[in-house]
C-alpha cells in the first residue's frame, strides 16, 4: 500500500516536472529569434539607414526610408478605412445581438478571421489591381484593412457588451437621442478597449507580407503616391532576404529589427492599456 502511494506521488511529481519543462522550453525559440534579430539588426540602424533609400548592389550605405514611409502610409490608410467600418459594425453587433443580420455578420467575422492572408491578397488583386491595370499602394491598404476588421470588430463588441446597461438607460431616460447616446456615452466609456483593439490590429498587419505581394508590390524608390506601387518593411525584408548579396541581407536585418521594434512596442503598449483598464480581449 505504502509503495503504491509512493509510485503515484512520484508519477505526479514527474508529470509536473515534464509539464513545467515543456512549457518553458517553448520560450527558447522565441528568445533565440529575438536576440538574433536584435544582434544582427541593431548595428545596421543609424540616421543614414532611416533616411536613405536602398543602394544598388556593391555600393556602400543605403537604407530603408522607402519601406519605412511606405509601411507607415499604407498602415495609416488601412486604419482610416478599417476604423469606421470596424467600430460601427462592432457597435451593431453589441447593440443587436439577436437579430438575423447580427448572426450572419458575426459568422462573417469568424470566417474573415480564418481566411489566409494570401487569399485576401488574391482577392484584392482581382478587385482593384486588375481593373486598374497597375499595382498600387491603395490596394495594399485595402487588403490590410480587410485583415484588420475582425480584430477591431471583436474588441469593440466585447468591450461594449461589458458596459453596464444602466449607463445607456440613464442617458436614454434623459431624452438623449440614440445616436448621441452611442457617440457621447457608450463609445467614450469603451474607448480604451476599442483603442487597444485597433493597436493590436495595427501590430498584426504591420508585419503582413502576403497580402502586399500582389497589391502594393514594392518599389525601390521613395514614393508617396497611393496610386503607384509602394515598398513596405515586410516586403523589403522578403525581397532582400532572398537575394544573394550580403549587403542586402544586412539591409534586411536592419529592417527586421525596426519591424520587430514596431511590433513589440505596439504589443507592450496594448498590454499596458488592457492591464490598466482591466479589459479582456
Amino acid at each position: 500500500m505504502e509503495a503504491r502511494l509512493k509510485i503515484r506521488n512520484t508519477k505526479s511529481l514527474l508529470f509536473k516536472g515534464l509539464i513545467v519543462f515543456l512549457a518553458f522550453l517553448i520560450t527558447i525559440p522565441l528568445i533565440v529569434v529575438l536576440l538574433y534579430i536584435i544582434k544582427q539588426g541593431v548595428m545596421q540602424v543609424n540616421w543614414h539607414f532611416l533616411t536613405h533609400v536602398p543602394a544598388p548592389v556593391g555600393e556602400p550605405g543605403g537604407g530603408i526610408a522607402n519601406a519605412l514611409v511606405g509601411s507607415i502610409l499604407m498602415v495609416a490608410v488601412a486604419t482610416i478605412i478599417a476604423i469606421p467600418v470596424g467600430i460601427l459594425s462592432g457597435i451593431y453587433l453589441s447593440e443587436n445581438p439577436s437579430t438575423k443580420l447580427a448572426y450572419y455578420s458575426g459568422l462573417c467575422v469568424d470566417i474573415l478571421q480564418g481566411v489566409p492572408s494570401i487569399v485576401i491578397g488574391i482577392v484584392v488583386y482581382l478587385w482593384i489591381v486588375k481593373p486598374a491595370g497597375t499595382f498600387s499602394a491603395i490596394s495594399g491598404s485595402v487588403a490590410l484593412a480587410i485583415m484588420m476588421l475582425p480584430i477591431v470588430i471583436r474588441s469593440t463588441e466585447q468591450t461594449l457588451r461589458l458596459l453596464p446597461p444602466s449607463l445607456k438607460e440613464a442617458a436614454l431616460s434623459l431624452g438623449v437621442p440614440y445616436h448621441r447616446v452611442i457617440i457621447k456615452v457608450i463609445v467614450p466609456c469603451g474607448f480604451s478597449g476599442i483603442l487597444s483593439g485597433i493597436m493590436l490590429s495595427v501590430a498584426r498587419i504591420i508585419g503582413e507580407t502576403a497580402p502586399l505581394l500582389f497589391t502594393a508590390l514594392g518599389n525601390s524608390f521613395l514614393s508617396y503616391s497611393m496610386k503607384k506601387p509602394m515598398e513596405s518593411l515586410p516586403h523589403l525584408i522578403y525581397t532582400y532576404a532572398t537575394s544573394p548579396y550580403d549587403d542586402w541581407h544586412n539591409l534586411a536585418w536592419g529592417a527586421s529589427f525596426i519591424l520587430l521594434m514596431f511590433v513589440l512596442i505596439l504589443n507592450i503598449v496594448t498590454k499596458l492599456i488592457t492591464r490598466k483598464w482591466n479589459i479582456q480581449l
Binding site: 460601427l88 459594425s89 440614440y178 522578403y238 532576404a241
Partner: protein, 304 residues
C-alpha cells in the same frame, strides 16, 4: 418657440434613423465582403475548373509552360507541413495550457510566461522565415549530412519546425482559458477521493476540456494551412513530388500558399492565373471550414 423645439426633435429623429441605418449598413457590408470574396474566387477559377475539372486536385504535373496544372504536389506539401507542425506543437501547447491553467494560474511568473507565449504569435512570419533561412537551414543541413539524406537544408522538415513554433499560441491561449474554467467542485471531489494531482489532470481536467482543447488544435491547424511567408522562404519551392518517402520528408516541397505567393505575379495567361486562384479557393474553403468547426465547438463549450 414650441414649433422650434418640435423641429429640433424631428431633426434629431432623422439623425437617429440615419445612424441606425448606418449601423445596419456596416454590418451588412461585412457579409457583402465575405460573399464578394467567395464570388470573386469562384468566378476567376471557372476557366481552370472548366478546363481541368475535379482532376485538378489529384494530377501530379504542374507545368505552366505547357498549360498543365495539377495541384497534388501542393496538396501533399500543405498537408505534410501542417500535420507535422501540428504533431510537433501539440505536446508544447498542451503543456502550456496545463501549466498556466492548472499548476500556476496566477502570479508574475504565470503572467510573464503567458505574455511571452502570446508574443510568439505577434512576431511577423517574415521574420521567422528570415531567421530560419539564415540560422535554422545550416543546422538542418548539417543534420541531414549526418543522417545521409540529400543536404538541401530547406524543405518540408525545416518549414514544419518553424511552423510548429508559430502555431503554438493559438491552441495554448484557448487551452489556458478552458482549463481555468473547469469547476473547482469536480477537482476537489477527485482530491477528496485521494487522487494525486496527475490523476486529477488525467481523469478530470483533460476529459472535461477534451472537446475544447480539440477546437484549439483545429484553430492551430487552420493557421498552419494558410501560413504563407515563413513557409515560402523555407520550403524550397519545387513543383515535383519526391519519389521516396525520405526525400519527401527532408527534401524541398511546396504548399498551396507558397506556390501562390511565388507564381501569382508571374502568371501571364488566363488559365495559369485561374489555376492559382483555384488553389486559393481550395485553401479558402479548407481553412474556413476548419475554423468554423473550431469556433462552433468553443461556443458550445463555453455556453455549458
Amino acid at each position: 418657440m414650441k414649433n422650434k423645439r418640435l423641429d429640433l426633435s424631428y431633426s434629431q429623429m432623422k439623425w437617429e434613423t440615419m445612424f441606425r441605418k448606418l449601423l445596419i449598413f456596416m454590418a451588412a457590408l461585412l457579409v457583402l465582403v465575405i460573399i464578394g470574396i467567395l464570388i470573386t474566387l469562384i468566378i476567376e477559377s471557372v476557366p481552370s475548373i472548366k478546363a481541368l475539372g475535379i482532376k485538378f486536385l489529384w494530377s501530379k504535373t504542374w507545368d505552366p509552360v505547357q498549360n498543365i496544372y495539377g495541384a497534388l504536389p501542393f496538396l501533399i506539401g500543405t498537408l505534410l507541413t501542417s500535420f507535422i507542425a501540428l504533431i510537433l506543437s501539440l505536446p508544447f501547447s498542451y503543456s502550456v495550457s496545463i501549466y498556466l491553467g492548472e499548476y500556476n494560474p496566477k502570479g508574475w511568473l504565470s503572467n510573464l510566461l503567458k505574455n511571452t507565449i502570446e508574443l510568439i504569435a505577434a512576431v511577423p512570419s517574415i521574420i521567422y522565415g528570415f531567421w530560419g533561412l539564415f540560422v535554422l537551414v545550416p543546422v538542418i543541413r548539417a543534420i541531414e549530412m549526418k543522417i545521409g539524406v540529400a543536404p538541401y537544408g530547406i524543405g518540408i522538415t525545416t518549414a514544419s519546425l518553424v511552423l510548429a513554433v508559430m502555431i503554438i499560441p493559438y491552441a495554448a491561449s484557448l487551452g489556458i482559458t478552458l482549463i481555468r474554467m473547469v469547476p473547482a467542485s469536480l477537482k476537489e471531489g477527485a482530491y477528496a477521493l485521494g487522487a494525486t494531482r496527475f490523476e486529477v489532470i488525467r481523469s478530470v481536467i483533460l476529459p472535461y476540456t477534451r472537446t475544447g482543447l480539440f477546437a484549439g488544435v483545429l484553430l492551430s491547424l487552420g493557421r498552419a494551412l494558410g501560413e504563407t511567408m515563413a513557409v515560402t522562404m523555407l520550403i524550397g519551392n519545387t513543383t515535383s513530388i519526391a519519389g521516396t518517402f525520405k526525400d519527401l520528408l527532408f527534401g524541398p516541397g511546396n504548399t498551396m500558399a507558397s506556390v501562390i505567393a511565388n507564381e501569382f505575379t508571374e502568371a501571364d495567361h488566363t488559365e495559369y492565373l485561374s489555376a492559382l486562384v483555384e488553389l486559393g479557393l481550395v485553401l479558402f474553403f479548407v481553412t474556413v471550414i476548419i475554423n468554423l468547426i473550431g469556433k462552433r465547438i468553443i461556443t458550445r463549450f463555453t455556453q455549458h
